[in-house]
């Protein structure tokens, strides 16, 4: 169990790991995450499941090297065992046929978006996906996203791939062109804040999959709390997806920095 069977570098800092975890593969749905811990002295971090193969009993995690633990995970090799994986956790994405779904993925947020795009397409929706990143090498999983999207728009900050510009520009172009029934946004909190402001302007119901600091991932610690619609909710058990227009992104942005200045230990992850 928990053995790494495949490893691939999607970019310099982004690694794809395929891990043998048959029970989790069996139960996992789009939107679920796992908690991963490396070794006795490791910390527990949440990672969204990017895909799973029930026949092979594997799950796929995509990790961006940002903090101590994401480096440790990304540096593991085929054959290594991840000492602790727990899940699948969180509420799965509510997948149903709504019409046209506009998906927006930013950076490594494309990884958790991937299974949602697939599930939304399989549910009979028209899926239009906007992928955005700083530059070409940070656009990941393009083939898989294309497979399940009716249309894909790529936006890069530096114009090295697709169109030069922000994710919101790509989205707005679509919104002005056709009727969107549901938007889904996953990426850095700052990106989700602005995509959410955009869809609010056009009154499009929008889901955001939040990334927050967690310890246990099962509702026990409350580190992941966010304000949604004026109420405190726990990302781990109530989320990770919430109505984006109700989320207090400014608070989330501050809370994500909770462990940066105080200590060299760093919990930030994707």
């Amino acid at each position: 169990m928990n053995k790494i069977v495949e490893k691939e570098y999607l970019s310099d800092k982004v690694v794809k790991l395929v891990i043998h975890a048959p029970l989790i593969a069996q139960k996992r749905k789009a939107g679920h995450f796992v908690i991963v811990k490396i070794g006795e002295k490791g910390e527990r971090i949440p990672l969204t499941i990017s895909s799973a193969d029930t026949e092979k009993g594997t799950i796929t995690l995509i990790i961006q090297k940002v903090g101590v633990t994401s480096h440790k995970v990304a540096n593991l090799e085929v054959g290594d065992i991840i000492s602790d994986i727990s899940g699948p956790l969180g509420q799965p994405t509510a997948i149903k046929k709504v019409g046209t779904v506009l998906c927006a993925g930013g950076g490594v947020g494309i990884a958790p978006l991937n299974p949602i795009v697939e599930a939304m397409k399989k549910a009979g929706n028209k899926v239009i996906t906007v992928l955005a990143a700083r530059s070409k090498d940070l656009i990941i999983l393009e083939d898989s996203i294309r497979k399940y999207s009716d249309e894909v728009i790529i936006m890069t900050d530096d114009g090295s791939y697709g169109k030069k510009g922000l994710v919101t520009e790509g989205m707005e172009e679509i919104i002005n062109r056709e009727k969107i029934d549901l938007a889904i946004t996953i990426g850095p909190a700052i990106m989700m804040k602005y995509t959410s402001l955009l869809t609010k302007k056009y009154n499009i119901h929008t889901l955001a999959s939040l990334n927050s600091i967690m310890v246990d991932g099962t509702g026990m610690c409350g580190a992941c709390r966010v304000t949604v619609g004026g109420e405190t909710r726990f990302v781990c058990v109530d989320g990770p997806e919430f109505d984006a227009h109700e989320v207090d992104f400014d608070e989330l942005l501050l809370r994500l920095k909770a462990y940066n200045p105080a200590t060299e230990k760093n919990t930030k992850n994707n």
Binding site: K41, K72, M220, R225, A258
Partner: protein, 493 residues
């Protein structure tokens, strides 16, 4: 206490060695002895590390304390024990110097004696019902200290523990590896059931590991008790979230015939006051989990924890005391308890409050936080509090705190630990269709058997009580094990 049990207790008491022992010292001489004080590490030394505060009795002290016990005809102390330990018997074995026998006596009814000897509130249980307390109005026999003495002796003499047992009966699943689950598992294994404990975290012990700090209950003690259970034949599976990794129905298909849910009250409550989500404000669950389970204060471990200089802990329970004393150990210059009632109404054990005061913890009582303020980075830097006065008694029988208008003032702090209670963890209850759940989100059970409304599903501990003590959870686990045994026997016939 059942008639059968009380007959056994009477028979035990009439064994020759006990009669001789009773006669060896006159009752009057026994009652003249002073209660032995538990040796403690000096406050100024212990706050610099996580060393256990209570050092344990020496052999001489233990025998002397055991000598105080009168070996009563009617041992009322036992009525105060949720798991029904044969208290006079194990104490008399100590007095006789027969520690292996004392350990066996404890182990028969108590799966976690080294834990109970440390964290049970004996002063409101066995010791509150001791003859000394009830009739002589003197300090009770130090039952808890003696229990710990025997359990620690066991720990240092591991060769005395039985070899691995083989269990062959029907499969029973225990959901949650905390005190309720460990106790139920131990009892069931002794009844020859094949028990598997499914634990959501990466380590076993539940609140004993993530909650109660090292200075009150060292993790190696918990690990020792868990190793004992493994030898009893209990299987342990970690990182397994029942309701997520597999459902109860999946486990039924795997051949599990009965279930005990002891998934605890793992959902921290907050006060929902302005500013409560600022950085630096965290639940006691988070704070204690970081420090205890994840070892965050040790630089070799990856998990971070902020080490506040001015730390306010909100609440007056044992968890609040654990948090504030932890903050002191992590270097807080000011570690303050803010509690809305007075010190007399605090639910924490007197011993914990006493230790906290010794360690320089400040108590700001009859005071309640109403708002938090933060710097431009969102880090908390101030709490606004309001003074309270005590009004009429409320539903808990304690006088209700009433705010005093115009009494607000600010306290500069850089970390707040909210310790105002916990709610049941929803993951397991929500995953079981048609399970009867109360309006407090606890699982409803028959109080005699601990069976829920679902066939073969039993529950106990905080998932039923909503936030109580280790020993009450253990009592539930024991009762549920009996209920499960009865259920499976009825089914087999």
């Amino acid at each position: 206490m059942s008639d059968l049990m009380s007959n056994n207790i009477k028979q035990d008491r009439e064994e020759e060695w006990r009669i001789d022992l009773r006669k060896s010292i006159k009752a009057k001489d026994r009652t003249a002895l002073e209660r032995i004080r538990m040796p403690e590490v000096e406050p100024n030394i212990r706050v610099k590390s996580h060393i256990e505060v209570n050092m344990g009795l020496s052999p001489e002290q233990a025998i002397a304390e055991a000598g105080r016990c009168l070996d009563c005809v009617n041992p009322t102390c036992m009525e105060g024990c949720p798991v029904g330990v044969n208290i006079p018997k194990f104490i008399k074995y100590i007095e006789a110097g027969l520690l292996a026998e004392a350990a066996n006596t404890l182990n028969q009814t108590n799966m976690l004696p080294a834990v109970c000897g440390r964290v049970c509130p004996q002063e409101i249980q066995c010791e509150a019902n001791c003859f000394y307390t009830l009739k002589l109005h003197k300090p009770a026999v130090g039952i808890g200290n003696l229990e710990r003495y025997v359990a620690d002796w066991c720990l240092n003499n591991q060769e005395n523990i039985a070899e691995n047992k083989i269990v062959t009966g029907p499969k029973v699943a225990v959901i949650g590896g905390g005190p309720a689950g460990l106790t139920a598992a131990g009892d069931l294994a002794r009844l020859n059931y094949q028990v598997t404990i499914f634990e959501a975290l990466h380590d076993f012990g539940g609140v004993l590991k993530y909650g109660i700090p090292e200075f009150r209950l060292p993790n190696n003690i918990v690990n020792f008790e868990i190793e004992k259970l493994k030898k009893e034949g209990v299987k342990f599976v970690k990182n397994f979230v029942v309701g997520k990794t597999a459902t109860l129905e999946d486990l039924r298909e795997e051949g599990f015939q009965a279930f005990f849910i002891g998934s605890g009250a793992g959902l921290p409550r907050f006060m929902n006051i302005p500013g409560e989500n600022y950085n630096g404000i965290l639940s006691s669950n988070e704070y204690l989990t970081r420090v205890n389970l994840m070892n965050a204060s040790n630089p070799e471990f990856d998990t971070p924890v902020d080490m506040g200089k001015n730390v306010a802990v909100i609440g007056g329970g044992n968890t609040a005391m654990d948090s504030v004393r932890t903050a002191k150990r992590l270097g807080a210059e000011r570690a303050i308890i803010i509690y809305r009632r007075s010190i007399d109404e605090m639910p924490a054990r007197k011993e914990e409050i006493h230790h906290a005061i010794e360690e320089g913890i400040e108590f700001i009582t009859l005071t309640n936080p109403i708002e938090y303020f933060a710097d431009s980075h969102g880090n908390v830097n101030k709490v606004r509090v309001q003074k309270m006065e005590l009004g009429e008694p409320d539903s808990s029988g304690r006088r209700k705190p009433v705010p005093i208008n115009g009494s607000e003032y600010d306290i500069a702090i850089d970390q707040v630990i909210v310790s105002v209670g916990v709610s049941p963890n929803p993951i397991v209850p929500k995953s079981i269709q048609n399970l009867a759940i109360s309006k407090w989100q606890t699982i409803e059970v028959n109080p005699e058997t601990m069976q829920s409304n679902i066939e073969g599903v039993f529950a106990g501990g905080d998932i039923v009580r909503g936030g109580a003590t280790v020993i009450l959870a253990m009592g539930d686990g024991r009762k549920a094990a009996a209920g499960i045994h009865q259920y499976l026997q009825d089914r087999a016939n």
